[in-house]
């Protein structure tokens, strides 16, 4: 019980180091924007390509 209270106090007392993303608080605005844009780019690109191929094959099967 005592260990849990101490662990909770440690987490609540040091919220600044508890960020999940190490780059979400970069002081450089251009760098932060680049991270966000490239994350979007790399997330959507495979979905778009695989989706595009799947749609193309579906159109072919309908012909």
């Amino acid at each position: 019980m005592k260990a849990r209270v101490l662990a909770l106090a440690a987490v609540l007392g040091t919220p600044a180091v508890a960020y999940a993303c190490p780059v979400c608080f970069d002081a450089n605005e251009a760098n932060r924007t680049a991270f966000i844009l490239t994350t979007i780019f790399l997330s959507l690109l495979p979905l778009g390509m695989v989706g595009g191929i799947a749609y193309w094959i579906r159109q072919l099967t309908r012909e």
Binding site: A30, N31, A34, T38, L42, L45, M49, I53
Partner: protein, 195 residues
Amino acid sequence: MSSNVAILPVRRAVVPSAVLGMLIFVVTEVMFFAGLISAFTIVKSNALMPWPPPGQPRLPIEATALNTLALVLSGFAVFAAWRAFTRSDRRAGPLLLAGVTLGALFVTLQGMEWVALLSEGLTLTTSAHASFFYLIVGAHALHVVGALAVVVRAYLRLRGELLDEPGLRATVVLWTFVVGVWPVLYVLVYLGGGA
């Protein structure tokens, strides 16, 4: 005596395996270059000095623009060869050969560009910009050489009357990717000045 023979529907592939396999390969290649582009963009945005750094040998923007034109023309030539092949047009061979020649010209001129830049002192360790230049342009050059070998193989098979349409179409998919990704890299690496 009655025989029970099941009549199964004839199954036909809507996309030839060679083409589908090449498309899947190209998807992985697109992700490879997307990773490089993303890393380049992030490092560039975090650069503490102007991009490219002052005092560094200048990249040959104009000469590479002409080189880019040669590669794009080779893409059109290989595509036209495929169109000719599907119409049993005898110009497919010469068009494929033109595509190979223009592709080889691109690789040769890129090699000469690298030799000139290295002699001017631009190496992999000069700066982050130089590192990315050699990494991205070098990765693309290796892809051009590999894809060129595939196009040459298609040409030789065409001459030996062994080439089939799906095989040539798969070759066109690969070459189109190699040609299509280059203008993006050119704009990014050669023209992407400013921090």
